[in-house]
Subunit: 287 residues, 2 copies
């Protein structure tokens, strides 16, 4: 049996971020405490926030966009704009690039991640967002489909209720904001462990991150992932995996994955993405 | 935060078996190749097999028992008896104990694991089976509910579609044939990873073994677990887990589990239960 080449055993060292990227597992509280959305609002500048909402994963972009507009307006954002892109050519609209120039926060809604990527990938608008994230000038958040697009490899769809197997997951290319991770969302809520395992078997040089609903994985500028919200963030780390049969079996055959490291993390837990270890609870700042 | 005591970090050393115990994830093929059932038949002695079928997990014990009786009769077993126990007092019936004395294989069917334990646990019949397993004189197999009862701690029921949490899983006491493991069955088919994780958070001194349908974890006398069948056997090893919040949160709160080792195993894969490591593929005998 073929072993994994040693090259793929080396975890990729993630590029440091200069600002927070908030990856939300969908169905975040929009009514009561709004903890996650309020945190986004705060990180984006609070009452000085200038927010761009990207609703184009959704087939009802006006409705979903207006819902978030109302929420951030209630919180007191200084400016809010809906980047209601329905054709790729709109990604070149200088008006929206100008607005982005002044923005402090970008929020990508749920919907269909393939639609979001088809409309945005490689447009000048997306390049502007990517540059602003890299420069630390905006706080980026995405929920559900808006979360799924964060990696270079993206889970576009899939099933559940089966042994892990390649045909259980549809992979595509994401927006690559956090290229080293493969994000899955609505994670335990929709029983997606088997499909994330299947994705990781195909891409063992990445880190699997499965995020439950109303839960956020906050990728921080200090190289950690911090968990906020009601559910869990599930880390599937194949860094020590020394064998998978992925390349040797039919697409519907069950997959072997030897020696995964898995962490189930809750609100307040922190994970060091560079060391691929838990930040020990005792070294957390006292709340 | 409280750390796990070092005592619980020490994996229990399983007692060696003298014969195979076959733990089947339910819905094993009964019509076509019947690979798993045929293996049980062979291990129990083939045409010399004297098989006892225990159908009492089921509320229709005659029907399910007769189905297996027909299968093993077709294969050519020398003797087959249905131990159709409907009251605990029948567990003292000397006729069945005499039959067991001569038996070479015992097969426990599916149904409700609580019913199975309520009828069998601590009866003379069950003690006889346990003794014969310990002495290596019978091959024991259990499918579905008959698999769930194998551990000391038993998953009696539970849910899916939620973050791991204590109330997602109902624990009870099993028959303790393989005391060191917590078995779950119909595993990925019914999306049971979250409930197995929840069970392991409560019992981090055990080993989680989640078995898919038409798949068998064969606990062998050499201290290994060998996988046979169509799906996967999923090992959740908390031996290196250094923290869980299990004792500190409400029953419905999400659980943290830091640093699990997880293996997804397929047909032919082998796992060393004493070392808690994969038996390296290159050290497998050539098929």
């Amino acid at each position: 049996m073929q072993q994994l080449e040693s090259q793929s055993l080396q975890p990729k060292i993630p590029q440091p971020l200069k600002n927070t990227v908030m990856v939300i597992g969908g169905a975040e509280d929009k009514v009561h405490g709004r903890e996650i959305l309020h945190t986004f609002f705060g990180r984006a500048g609070g009452v000085d926030a200038r927010i761009a909402i990207i609703p184009c994963a959704s087939r009802e972009p006006s409705a979903i966009g207006d819902r978030y507009r109302t929420i951030f307006a209630d919180m007191g954002a200084k400016a809010i704009e809906l980047l209601d892109i329905r054709e790729r050519s709109q990604g070149e609209d200088p008006r929206w690039q100008e607005y982005l120039e002044e923005s402090t926060g970008v929020f990508m809604t749920g919907g269909d991640q393939l639609r979001l990527c088809a409309l945005l990938a490689d447009t000048p608008l997306m390049e502007k967002i990517r540059m602003k994230v890299r420069e630390g000038k905006i706080t980026l958040a995405g929920t559900s489909a808006g979360a799924a697009v964060m990696g270079h490899h993206m889970i576009a769809g899939g099933g559940s209720g089966e042994s892990p197997n390649r045909s259980l997951v549809d992979m595509a290319t994401g927006l690559g904001i956090l290229p080293d991770v493969i994000v899955d969302q609505h994670f335990h809520n929709r029983n997606r462990m088997a499909r994330l395992l299947s994705a990781i078997a195909c891409h063992p040089d990445r880190l699997g991150v499965g995020i439950d609903e109303d839960t956020c994985a906050m990728f921080e500028s200090d190289g950690t992932l911090q968990v906020m919200g009601k559910g869990t963030v599930n880390i599937v780390d194949p860094g020590d995996m020394f064998y998978t049969n992925e390349s040797q079996v039919a697409a519907s055959d069950p997959l072997s994955l030897y020696n995964l490291r898995v962490h189930i993390l809750c609100h307040g837990d922190r994970y060091d993405l560079r060391q691929r270890t838990i930040v020990h609870p005792q070294s957390r700042p006292t709340p």
